[in-house]
């Protein structure tokens, strides 16, 4: 069963790689008409979303193929994840390897579900790239044999806590991609060069800003919940809900930085670029918490099989 799970994960990586090519080709061919710059504004009554794809827009086909491939790959990945759980007879979020699979699924699903509502094919390169990178690190550096849990990890709070953290990881990744795109596009718009190069293939800066805000507005409560669920579990396992263990410290730092992002967006002089940079710093802090702390710090959290 564990072998089958590995096979499914490798297969999904292969399909993701194909999808990545598709998204890259689609992005290369694509060019968003300048008219959509003010897409956030409402047009005349009953008008459709201005961003609605034009039927013969170049890159559309390869983008759609890539989306379909991504769905397939995500399905395979979910199969791998479930098999892993069946093999160990427990919820498959017990070590870094499994957590990475979970986070990759969360990134991919968040993206795929969001793209059923609006056209997000231009973001595919980043998202699927991040998913592939996560999986690559997971199967090479983090791989652990499927096994039962150490007693300290046997708790429903752990399942809840880690699931919420995986979902947050997915959405944080998405938000970082959106913010990066925003920074590129904003810069181009400021210099009046929004109709050439990479920037021309992206939606308007206003729209990107709104999308990244929405992503973070969605993930912030989830992350808050993940941290609190972790605290409840810690209280049950160690007798204290908060102990400034390195993992807890970085969870806190990440949380505070994203709170900073939310404030910056409504503070004069911090809107736009500065807020966006805070958002990126928040993502870096999440990554430090995710990788750095497990490898370099020792603490109560460092027993999870890397």
């Amino acid at each position: 069963m564990a072998q089958l799970s590995n096979a499914a994960v490798y297969a999904s990586m292969l399909v993701y790689a194909l999808a990545l090519f598709g998204f890259a080709a689609s992005l290369a061919a694509r060019r968003v008409p300048l008219a959509s710059k003010n897409a956030v504004l409402v047009g005349s009554a009953g008008a459709q979303d201005v961003e609605a794809p034009v039927a013969d827009e170049p890159g559309r086909r390869s983008g759609n193929i890539a989306l379909a491939l991504s769905w397939l790959a995500t399905g395979l990945l979910i199969v791998g994840f479930v098999l892993r759980g069946l093999a160990a007879e427990r919820f498959p979020l017990g070590n870094m390897y499994e957590f990475s699979l979970g986070a990759a699924i969360a990134v991919a699903l968040t993206y795929l579900i969001a793209s059923t509502r609006t056209d997000l094919r231009w973001l595919g390169v980043w998202v699927i790239g991040a998913v592939l990178l996560t999986l690559g690190v997971a199967v090479t550096l983090l791989y652990t044999e499927s096994a039962q849990l150490v007693p300290a990890l046997k708790s429903w709070w752990l399942v809840i806590h880690v699931s919420a953290a995986a979902i947050s990881g997915g959405a944080f990744t998405l938000s970082a991609g959106l913010i990066g795109a925003y920074l590129v596009r904003q810069r181009a718009e400021d210099r009046g060069r929004a109709d050439s190069g990479l920037a021309s293939r992206l939606p308007s800066a206003d729209r990107l800003d709104l999308l990244s805000y929405r992503t973070i507005a969605f993930v912030f409560p989830v992350w808050t919940f993940a941290v609190i669920a972790g605290a409840i579990w810690a209280e049950n396992a160690w007798g204290r809900y908060w102990g400034w263990d390195p993992k807890e410290t970085w969870a806190f730092i990440t949380w505070v930085i994203y709170a900073g992002y939310l404030h910056a967006r409504s503070t004069a002089g911090w809107k736009g670029r500065k807020a966006a940079i805070i958002g990126l710093v928040g993502f870096v802090s999440f990554l430090i918490n995710y990788f750095g702390v497990n490898f370099f710090a020792t603490g109560l959290h460092s027993y999870a099989g890397v």
């Binding site: 956030v40 409402v42 009554a45 039962q148 805000y213 049950n236 730092i253 939310l262």
Partner: protein, 502 residues
């Protein structure tokens, strides 16, 4: 010095003391300051994860200080080993709290005021609003506004109607959530404070068959809040009857613990009935006012030392502290009050093996082939110091021996050392935190509040019969909290108006 030239930026007369205070308060409670304080708080937490902290791992702090004799003391002076208890960390969060209170109070007052009044009238130029659209070819009479008003009310907007325009506002729960969230954040800090002042924690090592009571002398370590009376710890008693551990037998993770379980006889206080209770990691023993957590375990070899004349000078189970994941454990026996003093230094291996490099070492944490390696010493055995360490400077080594359970070893002077058997011991940690319920409630409300605040949006919309023509109506909207939801509202209202039967 000549008189100061008026600076170009300064606005008006000199600020008096009151003016300065007012300025200070306004600055402190501004959103920008809050933002900077938040970022500072994040920054200030980083050293807490880079350097070892006294609160969590005092031994590593000492190691660090020894390894870095020049830099270490400076870092220590700066509070780098006690970041979360340091003055500068406290300064940041206290300022943040003050800023928060200074922010919540006027905002609450403001909110109540606006909620009492109907929404403000429509501004004169709706086309300037961020969301704006027109509905063409409609009959612009008051029936249209009647329908619009009914529609808005059905969708739970608060509506104001004057003349040819409607103003409506919605999403007050955004504000409620936001205030709730900021307020509960303060309660959360209060809860942490209560725990810090009135809470205590302790650690105990208990060998199977032995017990302890809720009193300071029985604890191996004890930490208490400032306002805890150490004489009034809970009066319980606990006897550890049985401890069992199981481990992964094979595969990459062989030796990983799989299940720890303890069984204890518990009495809440003297005179209360004794009950048998089981507890595990993640499922603590709950007593009134205290929780007992199982945090680790190890082995306690039973050692009996008999003099040639038959007097037993030592007979007990001795806690050996684990040194690695396979429970290679070390411990000592000290018998200072005999002449000459007698001591044993030992290595207990639950599954013994001899490594060519490391020497005797355990290869599995369960007791599959238990062996005890002992060194015997005589001389001036000092008491004091750690009970787990032996200072061998004034002692003579008189022999070394490996023993299996049941075996005895006769020393040159006729003293006999018997490895009778071994028992498990459990590491228990005890905690009492009277702030935890407040912390839990505050956290739940923090989540509720922040979700309300981020997922609901306060926004205004306006509908006006256009003065320019008979058949045009304007619809405009303004979001008061980001999120862009108002564009959808405006679109929906416009669609509703254009589809309406006239």
């Amino acid at each position: 010095m000549t008189t100061t030239v008026e600076r170009p930026r300064s606005s008006g007369p000199q600020l008096g003391a009151v003016g300065w205070m007012r300025w200070g308060w306004r600055t402190l409670t501004s959103m920008r300051t809050a933002l900077i304080l938040l970022l500072l708080l994040a920054l200030a937490s980083i050293p807490g994860s880079v350097f070892p902290q006294r609160g969590t791992d005092a031994a590593r702090v000492n190691d660090y200080l020894q390894a870095n004799p020049t830099l270490g003391p400076w870092l220590d002076r700066l509070g780098m080993f006690d970041v979360f208890a340091s003055a500068w960390f406290a300064a940041i969060y206290l300022l943040l709290c003050i800023s928060l209170v200074g922010c919540i109070i006027p905002r609450t007052a403001d909110f109540i005021r606006t909620y009492r009044k109907p929404p403000p009238p429509a501004p004169s130029r709706l086309s300037r609003m961020p969301a704006y659209t027109t509905v063409n070819d409609v009959a612009t009479d008051s029936a249209l506004l009647d329908d619009a008003e009914a529609y808005l009310r059905d969708n739970r907007w608060r509506v104001r109607r004057d003349g040819d325009a409607i103003s409506a506002e919605k999403g007050y729960l955004h504000e409620v959530g936001n205030l709730l969230f900021h307020l509960c954040f303060i309660f959360l800090l209060l809860a942490v404070g209560v725990g810090g002042l009135f809470g205590w924690s302790a650690r105990v090592i208990v060998v199977e068959g032995k017990g302890f009571t809720g009193s300071l002398t029985q604890f191996d370590s004890f930490r208490k809040g400032r306002l805890v009376n150490p004489d009034q710890i809970a009066p319980f008693s606990v006897v550890l009857q049985d401890f069992s551990a199981t481990f992964q037998e094979s595969g990459q993770q062989a030796g990983s613990p799989r299940q720890f379980e303890a069984r204890a006889l518990v009495s809440e206080r003297p005179g209360k009935p004794v009950t048998e209770q089981e507890f595990q990691v993640n499922s603590p023993l709950v007593l009134p006012g205290v929780k007992v957590f199982l945090t680790g375990h190890g082995y306690a070899p039973e050692i009996k030392v008999t003099r040639p004349d038959g007097t037993v000078i030592f007979d007990d189970a001795v806690v050996f502290l684990p040194r690695d994941g396979n429970l290679t454990s070390t411990g000592v026996v000290k018998v200072p009050d005999v002449e000459p003093g007698f001591a044993l230094q030992g290595l207990f291996l639950p599954t013994a093996s001899i490594d060519p490099v490391q020497g005797p070492i355990s290869t599995f944490p369960a007791a599959q082939d238990p062996q005890l390696f002992l060194g015997a010493f005589t001389g001036d055995v000092k008491i004091g110091g750690s009970v787990y360490q032996l200072d061998t400077t004034d002692l003579d080594l008189i022999g070394n021996q490996a023993l299996r359970p049941g075996q005895s070893w006769e020393l040159p002077d006729g003293t006999s050392v018997e490895f009778v058997g071994f028992r498990d011991f459990a590491n228990l940690s005890l905690a009492h935190d009277p702030g935890r319920w407040l912390a839990l409630i505050a956290s739940v409300l923090v989540i509720v509040g922040v979700s309300m605040s981020l997922l609901l949006h306060r926004r205004r919309v306006w509908i006006r019969l256009s003065p320019q023509g008979d058949t045009v109506a304007e619809v405009a909207g303004l979001s008061r909290s980001g999120g862009g939801r108002v564009h959808d509202d405006v679109r929906e209202i416009a669609t509703m108006l254009s589809k309406r039967e006239s």
